[in-house]
């Protein structure tokens, strides 16, 4: 009995100690509170944590550079939220941030969570800058508080199809057949549907569409099927683990299509993948969120992130980094921490001090109309921009020569 009591006392003491930092954080100079909401636990924890990292780096930089200057150097304070990879928890976090006095929210990575959090934030007129969430429904519901800095799903897929066609045409059309392998949720299915409906019109035969569950830990059968179909182009639309596993299995089974071409590919535009599976990654083409490679600030941030132990410079990091700066610019111009003022400032934003290939921001119905993806290819252990030509670092290698 004594042991049990001791155990309970120790647990209670531990819980009390763990709760301390919250109280400590609450004490500080008046600052503009910004909700930083991501799924940092659960199935999306990897991306969520990278997203949080990007937002925090930007926030620290903004504060170190003197905060919001038009308001006498007021600092930004992060209200960290964890959506636990569930829309309903994301909503609960928005409610909490509202009561903590958040002037704005940046987040919340996944489309399903963004749909819920933007709507919850709209109830309180909290400006919500969407960091990633590519589903186009996020910005088509008429929510005045929602602003997406990056490109949506439709723009990205259309760019991908166009660029694929350009590359193929320039190379005298060596690719005629396509096989699509996609994961089963909104992202993979949506991509596959769009590609399957548009590619035939451009002269490509979609030979096979294979859907797989999340998680899938064995791609041998799918790759065997691929071997028998022998498509010219393989288009994967899945998350990091499955993407990496699929490409590794293709490597093992010696399947070498003319191109592995993906849209918002889970691993293709990840330095982690390129570093860990250099052989499998080599030559892969992906259309994804990417920075202007010619911008020194983007490269400086890359160095900064890569200097951190175990961190990689991914789109989650730099998109959140930029979204936080976009918000700071709006607050700077609004000269106010009031939600309505920030919404108005975001709506009229023409911010051009970012390193994304978007041009000055212009929001129409909450979507940054200049936002566009870049086409990338893994070459010699690095990720290079190959299209459009304005941002290209090198020529595409298409078809891929083994």
């Amino acid at each position: 009995m004594t042991q049990r009591r001791q155990f309970l006392m120790n647990t209670a003491a531990l819980a009390a100690t763990a709760a301390l930092p919250l109280g400590a954080r609450a004490q500080g100079a008046p600052a503009i509170k910004v909700g930083v909401l991501h799924p940092v636990t659960g199935a999306l924890a990897y991306s969520g944590n990278l997203s949080r990292l990007g937002a925090q780096i930007a926030l620290d930089e903004i504060n170190a550079a003197g905060g919001i200057k038009s308001m006498g150097g007021v600092k930004l304070a992060a209200l960290l939220g964890d959506a636990q990879s569930k829309p309903e928890v994301g909503v609960a976090e928005v409610e909490k941030m509202n009561e903590q006095g958040a002037s704005a929210i940046v987040g919340s990575y996944a489309s399903a969570i963004c749909l819920a959090t933007t709507q919850a934030a709209a109830k309180y007129n909290i400006p919500h800058v969407v960091d990633v969430g590519v589903a186009d429904q996020i910005v088509t519901r008429g929510l005045k508080n929602t602003f997406r800095f990056g490109p949506g799903y439709k723009i990205t897929t259309e760019a991908a199809i166009n660029n694929l066609h350009i590359m193929n045409t320039v190379a005298r059309k060596p690719a005629k057949t396509v096989m699509i392998i996609h994961e089963e949720s909104l992202f993979g299915t949506g991509t596959a549907n769009l590609l399957a409906s548009q590619l035939p019109g451009m002269g490509y035969e979609v030979k096979e569409i294979v859907k797989h569950a999340n998680p899938t830990r064995d791609f041998n059968n799918i790759v065997l099927k691929m071997k028998s179909i022998n498509p010219d182009i393989v288009i994967p639309a899945n998350y990091y683990n499955e993407y990496a596993l699929l490409l590794r299995t293709m490597k093992q089974q010696n399947v070498t299509p003319k191109a592995v071409f993906s849209v918002l590919g889970g691993a293709a535009s990840s330095f982690k993948f390129v570093k860990e599976f250099a052989d499998a990654a080599n030559g892969v083409i992906d259309v994804n969120h990417w920075y202007n490679p010619k911008d020194k600030r983007a490269q400086a941030l890359r160095k900064k992130v890569e200097a951190m132990p175990g961190q990689f410079y991914t789109y989650e990091v730099f998109l959140n980094y930029q979204c936080m700066y976009l918000l700071a610019d709006a607050i700077e111009r609004a000269k106010s921490s009031k939600r309505e003022d920030i919404i108005n400032a975001l709506a009229s934003s023409t911010w051009d001090k970012h390193f994304m290939p978007y041009g000055p921001t212009k929001f129409v119905n909450g979507q940054n109309t200049g936002a566009a993806p870049l086409t990338l290819q893994v070459l010699k252990g690095d990720i290079k921009v190959i299209l459009p030509n304005t941002f290209a670092e090198t020529e595409p290698v298409f078809p891929w020569k083994v």
Binding site: R4, L8, T11, L14, A15, A18, A19, P21, L22, R25, V40, T41, A45, G48, N49, R52, L80, G81, D82, Q84, K86, P87, E88, V89, V91, A92, E95, K96, N98, E99, A112, L115, A116, Q119, K123, Y124, Q137, R141, G142, L143, E183, E184, S185, L186, G188, T189, G190, N193, K211
Partner: protein, 311 residues
């Protein structure tokens, strides 16, 4: 009668809450507790009162959720009309699943596994067919207004959750005091003995799973109206089945207020740990899990068992 009075007090207290509390966090918390109570009670009717452990109650939740979304989006039904249809479809799903599994005498772990399998089959079906939106899911159009069963404030959802949870609590109370409830308890304790005494065990279990399915479907319908989005994983995924059984088991199986107590504790702990450790991802879940282990260690009959022991 004391239980009935307690339900009345609960309804009154929660009903009056918005008059005194304007905090969205508090009202949201109470709403989600009531929603979890509904899910827990749905599971409790079959698992707690009936002794038929299900690991796949998401099959009913998802049916209700998809029915609610599909009827509105594909058939243009008003949400108020879609709600009873969704609940009824959940009941029908319960009847079918029960008829199939009980007819073949599936009990214990076999029944648990077959429910799990059904939930998975439904998840794959929802993932395949276009009318459920396949993997993309369904997003309910935003049309705020009581006529559309979409509320601009938390109060509307609070009352909806309260109404549904109250129905589930009243049914549990009726089970405790009715002849049918006694039959169900007899089947739970010893099905063969109950059958020998003339109880039609098959029919008794079938009614329980039908009501359980209907209540779970009501939870699914509520989810769609509140969050406006459903996909196969959210609807038929394991987390929903676990949430339902966890509230009932932590709170006390086979008791009227067990799922409510379980929901309060689970959501309370979840909020507490998440709020206190927001800067250390995952730490809140570790503490949450550890506290659950403690509860199960020291309260094997659930929280409601504590009160029973003192009588």
């Amino acid at each position: 009668m004391r239980s009935l009075a307690s339900i009345a007090v609960l309804v009154l207290a929660v009903g009056l809450l918005p008059l005194f509390v304007s905090s969205g966090v508090t009202l949201g918390f109470v709403t989600m507790v009531l929603y979890a109570t509904l899910l827990g009670q749905a599971w409790n009717i079959l698992g707690g009162f009936g002794g038929q452990f299900s690991f796949g109650h998401a099959v009913f939740f998802g049916t209700g959720a998809y029915a609610m979304a599909v009827l509105q989006m594909r058939f243009g039904l008003n949400a108020w009309a879609a709600l009873p249809c969704a609940i009824a479809l959940g009941g029908v799903a319960g009847t079918l699943l029960g008829a199939l599994s009980f007819r073949y005498g599936l009990r214990g772990s076999y029944f648990a596994l077959v429910t799990l399998a059904f939930a998975e089959v439904f998840r794959i079906l929802a993932n395949t067919f276009d009318f459920t939106g396949a993997g993309v899911g369904l997003q309910l159009p935003l049309q705020e207004g009581a006529a559309q069963l979409q509320f601009a404030t938390e109060t509307g959802y609070l009352y909806l959750a309260l109404a549904l949870a109250t129905v589930s609590l009243l049914f549990a109370w009726w089970l405790k005091h009715s002849r049918y409830g006694a039959w169900l308890a007899a089947v739970r304790d010893n099905e063969d003995s109950a059958a020998a005494l003339g109880v039609n065990a098959f029919r008794v279990k079938l009614v329980a799973i039908t009501v359980s399915g209907a209540l779970m479907a009501a939870g699914g319908a509520f989810y769609v109206q509140k969050f406006h989005y459903i996909d196969p994983h959210l609807a038929y995924g394991a987390p929903i089945s676990v949430e339902a059984l966890l509230s009932a088991i932590i709170g006390g199986m086979g008791t009227v207020f067990g799922p409510l107590l379980g929901a309060v504790v689970l959501h309370g702990l979840g909020e507490l740990t998440r709020n206190s450790l927001s800067s250390t991802p995952g730490a809140s879940l570790v503490i949450y899990g550890a506290l659950l282990v403690l509860i199960i260690m020291f309260m094997p009959r659930g929280i409601a068992g504590l009160f029973e022991g003192k009588r």
